[in-house]
Amino acid sequence: MARNWEEFLVEKVLLLAAISSIIIILLIIGFVIQQGLPAMEQVGPLNFIFGMDWSPSYDIYGVFPMIVGSLGMMALALLFAVPLSIFGAIFLAEVAPKTMRRILKPTIQTLAGIPSVIYGFFGLIVLVPFMRIHFGGSGFSMLTASIILTVMVLPTILSISEDALRSIPLEYKEASLALGATHWQTIKNVIFPAALPGIVTGIILGMGRAIGETMAVIMVAGNTPIIPGSILEPARALTSNIALEMGYALGLHYNALFATGIVLLMMIIVLLVITNYINYKRKVTVGGGYL
């Protein structure tokens, strides 16, 4: 009887541990929705999402400029980071000699361990004046934020891509080389397509980090709640909007910040679904490349 108890208990504890993360996520989503919904209702969901003006002191809440800001910064950051990290990953996985990899890999992983506020501070002190001198304007801009974000997502995409490239069975490479293909042809036509699903996973994670980053973006993006006219103008991200005003917000303003959280959550879910769908499609066309 004692043994059965033990079995039962261990089973349940393990189950609990496994579902606890799901429970926590559901609780958080539930709380954010519960707190944000009153503002959505009062302002009107469409007015809230597509409203151009954010003036909490007049109870006007529209987050469209922030949606543009968040998506713009993320897109720009990925535009810089994806090619860099994929080529970097190919170099590390296929070309680099062993000693070089031993130095490069930990260096890149260190980048991932630097706290975001340090990146932000670096951006504020070094990058913002640099951008102001060389590109004009105030230096606080979407582009400045994207450059900081690029450095922040680079290690994520790079190390996951490298792992994906290295986990391709050696037979693929051997077969390709045996057919007379050059090293570059093998990388381009065999290894890279086979590793693509893993690379896409890395890009998704990088995307998540870019869109969720708060502190570094607050410090360098300028945080103006209007749609930027160009990438050299300041912008405000959804996350920055919450973090900037959370300390003081009361009543409807408080709820509106949670509603901003709902918008952010929805955006991330939509992006995840899209990228997962692309990934799924890709898997089929590559044909058995997925491991």
């Binding site: 504020l124 105030s138 230096g139 410090m219």
Partner: protein, 263 residues
């Protein structure tokens, strides 16, 4: 057999938690406890005052929390705090039944980059610049809800129903970030509390008056605000003693050390 142990253990845990909660509640003496909630601008001064007072009177525990001036007023009205702090002028119609104690004054400085050749502006010029009507400046402001921003809007922009700060202003989330932004851009203009100004930026004279402890105290520097302690009705007991101590020479010395202007 095992079930018994488990039930026994649960009973013991429940009893321990119950006793702990009961004892924790019973040992709290409300008499010696003051909660101060409100303005983030007053917070550093209030914290220092509370610390010094607690050191002199160890049986009085003072908690200081931020939240903003509006939170300070609200908490003192609904009784969750004994003292609410407020960092701008408060009309008695807006806060009926609330006693106001001015514990310090603070000047709001208009700051520009060190390399800027601007030294003197009128209040109207500052208003025009922050309204976005002068494109030669990069306007740096604080986030919505900040006490310094509210005071600036009240004193320069003509209050909430006056002129708005331009939407294209750079928004920085702290005094230090504003300082950094202004220090790093020759065209930038911003505002910050007199207490936080240092050599990295240049302070502009307003209507010919340079902000300083003396000019704030004699009222000749116009962009100033009081740091208020609010209580529901006249303060009594420990709260009154604390406020009186803050207004005493000893308390005012701490106010001065924190960079605010003594009353």
């Amino acid at each position: 057999m095992d079930t018994k142990y488990i039930i026994g253990a649960i009973v013991i845990i429940v009893v321990i938690i119950g006793v702990a909660l009961y004892a924790g509640g019973a040992f709290t003496k409300p008499e010696g406890k003051i909660t101060i909630v409100g303005s983030t601008s007053v917070q550093p001064v209030a914290e220092k005052l509370a610390e010094a007072y607690h050191n002199a009177n160890p049986d009085v525990n003072i908690t200081v929390q931020g939240g903003g001036s509006s939170v300070g007023l609200k908490s003192v009205q609904d009784g969750t705090a004994q003292i609410g702090t407020y960092s701008s002028k408060l009309s008695s119609e807006k806060a009926p039944g609330i006693e106001q104690y001015v514990i310090a004054n603070d000047g709001i400085c208009i700051i520009v980059n060190k390399d800027s050749n601007v030294t003197d502006l009128t209040a109207d010029q500052v208003k025009e610049i922050f309204a976005g009507n002068d494109s030669s400046y990069t306007v740096v402001t604080r986030e919505e809800g900040s006490g310094t921003r509210d005071a600036f809007i009240d004193l320069i922009m003509g209050g909430k129903n006056g002129t708005n700060i331009t939407k294209s202003a750079i928004v920085q989330s702290s005094t230090d970030a504003v300082k950094q932004a202004v220090a790093g851009n020759p065209n930038a203009i911003g505002f910050m509390s007199l207490a936080d100004v240092d050599d990295s930026v240049k302070v502009v004279k307003i209507d010919g008056v340079e902000p300083s402890e003396a000019t704030v105290k004699d009222g000749s520097y116009k962009i100033q605000r009081p740091f208020l302690f609010l209580t529901k009705g006249a303060a009594t007991g420990v709260t009154l003693e604390f406020i009186n101590w803050c207004l005493s020479a000893e308390g005012q010395k701490i106010v001065q050390e924190e960079g605010a202007v003594p009353v």
